[in-house]
Symmetry: C2
Subunit: 467 residues, 2 copies
């Protein structure tokens, strides 16, 4: 079980890439390591690294590599996100993809080839780092693919698959090429290592699998039937299924900040993710979760944090949880949605906040758990109606899963009724007959959503439009 | 008469601000100085300097100041443009003004205040440089104010005046504050200098007026009646009236690359500018003119350059001409319109091109001319019908002025018929009764546009949409 923190630089937020300071970064990373975290997730800004479609700045790649090294010196592994893209309400789109040069981000051949070149170069730049946790294609890139984005690059689900596959391939290419280059430059490494396409790196805590490649999406992928990137994009690409849990999506409004529907929202997303995985052993990663002040009173933030993580720990096949975020945004920076200023586990000037204390206590206690727990997974699974009785794909499945939707309400009721406090697994109706899959997942009982369920539908908020 | 060059860095184009290299810059500036140029115009990228609305990066301002110093070491004065904004088809808009944070660039109070803060800070950063020629609010910012921009920030002409006045005031504030700060830090300067609101700086070539503040517009200001920024915005704000001459606007298509309507286009714009000036002594600056390969064959570039500048020299009250541009764009950079790669007086690797030889020859021969030539201005003026017979403002005046329009055709016919080869001045019908103005301008004969003129209307091309 990995405990990590999304790293928001205390000086200059992500604009600090324009004035990269190794010492500022080291101070922040030292603070993060003091929490007992084992990894950070970092976010280069796309237009800073690739300002022209065919110019990928070596110095920007070097800065990213330096952050990975600095993190390693504090015992932290690092996940590097490529396409930002979108961060905390701000879009960072290169000039070659905007305005007069606007082309579809996901389908234009030149754009896709050059975007892949960036992902590949970034992966290659950090491929040989022993503390590289992985490469994420970009932060919630699916935000750009549909409304309510103010200028969406609309695509079909199939086009989303083609794009995601291309980006994952680019990241893997970069990891292989970077490792090979590093190996080739090291006299002590034999030919086999240089030719090994699947890099395997050793961290300070022993050998581990090669860096993960992942695709990150905001929760419209799970909750909005109109969003072209959906559960299959999360579950079918890369090495783990990534979820981002933000209770300003309606959960807290419906259930209260400390209501079960809020503090179990991360757990619920992990169970949804597991339902769509084709491989029962595929890990699920709660890559973002935080306590947004627009719906979680600061006095409840520590309790929210502790309870959220406790519930996450009760799910099976959890790779880890990565809290958003390390440091509050400086009030001297303008235009962030109010809640974005206060998501840090540390204040902007470095004081540990109650939520940080709570995170740290759980991380220190739980990080020593066996990554393959002997405890059996939840034996009950709630059936998600992804198909109609005739087997056709059913539209509306994702709305059912959204906060207040029929499926979400049923899952929550079942979770709260379980004597051991562990929420049920989720199984797709389309896979109910796959007895081998159910057995491998440890599913013993399948339960249908009650037909007489009372539900309240809420509109899922987009992260950039939250009050 | 000033001869200058718009400086396009040979390494990394304007993205070089992200990897500022004093030595690369010095090599380019040395080459520019070798032409006999006396100034350069430089272009910081707005989102690089002000990535957050309330974050103006000191190191970016320092880089700009360093370029000014480097230029000074080669005997070059420098004009600094603030809001880029737009350059060679690419828009650079900060994330705090785009997408989820989009607000009207010209009228939103927070945006205008913060934009002014940037202009002020940039001016202050270079105010004490003895070789500062001036501050331009930004490169052709009027492109953002109307169609055909793909996402225009539509405004009225009056809103354009309020905005331009605010930006000019901000630049002047910055120049005063920067000079005062510099004076205060110099023990040898007395109290009076510190309190002087109008900085007067001495250059290596003797005393000269304080830095100019100017507003630059693309030629829709002169030719498109729908463009909210018009001739009055050019003539009523700042210290000189700026024109940008690009014969891909229809001139070359109508007249041929070396036709009079092309090689006199810069001269014509300067005469149009002079017509709108309220002060007959106000200088006019041809701040951009180049030989675009989509309409000027490279074999004609030198002749086009030489003839264009010769005609400019025949106009009155010309502050100078600043050629676009110093260096070809590297072919390794993608997505520029084809013509943008070849506008340099030098190739990207620093070889002088025939147009550069032509520019250099004229600059060396003519830069020694008295800035207040004893030669009388052209005695004939063509009357521009800016008002209807009843005195009301006449819509369509700008279309008449556009290439192929009635007024443009009449001016060109008159210019070609003049025995001395100097194009006529232009006088507004609304000012015909101002005999003092006409006398001060040296206008002796006023001529109406012939009523039986044959004209061909052409659509004025936007610079970012040229083939």
């Amino acid at each position: 079980m990995r405990f990590g923190v999304n790293y928001t630089p205390s000086v200059g937020w992500f604009h600090s890439w324009l004035d990269f300071s190794a010492s500022d970064t080291a101070r922040d990373l030292e603070a993060i390591a003091s929490l007992g975290a084992d990894h950070v997730r970092i976010f280069p800004l796309w237009p800073v690294v690739q300002p022209n479609r065919t110019l990928i700045r070596p110095s920007a790649l070097q800065d990213v590599a330096t952050v990975v090294d600095l993190a390693g010196s504090f015992g932290l592994d690092v996940n590097v996100d490529a396409l930002q893209g979108h961060l905390s309400s701000f879009d960072f789109v290169p000039s070659w993809l905007d305005s007069w040069h606007r082309r579809n981000m996901f389908t234009d051949p030149d754009v896709v080839a050059s975007t892949a070149a960036y992902v590949r170069a970034l992966a290659a730049a950090v491929a040989d780092k022993p503390n590289l946790l992985g490469i994420t294609i970009g932060n919630e890139v699916n935000q750009f693919a549909h409304a309510p984005h103010p200028a969406p690059h609309d695509i079909t689900a199939e086009q989303g698959h083609v794009w995601a596959a291309a980006m994952v391939a680019a990241a893997r290419d970069g990891l292989s090429a970077g490792s090979a280059a590093s190996a080739a430059s090291s006299a002590s490494v034999g030919l086999e290592a240089r030719l090994d396409p699947a890099p395997s790196v050793a961290s300070g805590t022993g050998s581990r699998p090669g860096p993960l490649v992942t695709v990150a999406q905001y929760d419209a992928a799970w909750y909005d039937d109109a969003q072209p990137f959906g559960p299959e994009h999360a579950a079918d690409h890369g090495d783990a299924t990534v979820t981002h849990s933000w209770v300003f999506n309606g959960s807290a409004a419906l259930h209260g900040a400390l209501g079960a529907g809020s503090v179990r929202h991360g757990e619920y997303l992990l169970q949804l993710a597991a339902a769509w995985n084709r491989d029962p052993a595929r890990p699920n990663w709660l890559q973002e979760v935080g306590a947004p002040t627009n719906v979680v009173d600061p006095v409840d933030a520590a309790a929210f944090t502790e309870q959220t993580i406790r519930h996450v720990l009760s799910a099976q096949q959890v790779l880890g949880v990565t809290w958003w975020c390390s440091h509050d945004v400086a009030r001297s920076l303008a235009d962030f949605p109010e809640l974005e200023y206060d998501l840090g586990l540390f204040t902007n000037d470095g004081r540990l906040k109650p939520a940080g204390q709570a995170f740290s206590a759980v991380a220190r206690a739980e990080s020593v758990r066996d990554p393959s727990p002997s405890a059996a997974p939840p034996a009950t699974a709630l059936v998600l109606d992804d198909v109609l009785p005739d087997g056709a794909v059913r539209h509306g499945t994702r709305a059912d899963c959204a906060p207040g939707g029929r499926f979400a309400a049923a899952w929550l009721a079942l979770a709260e009724a379980e004597p051991d406090g562990r929420g049920p697994q989720v199984v797709l109706r389309s896979r109910l007959s796959d007895t081998a899959l159910l057995a491998a997942r440890g599913i013993e009982h399948c339960v249908d959503v009650p037909s007489d369920l009372d539900t309240t539908t809420v509109r899922v908020a987009h992260p950039a439009t939250t009050p």
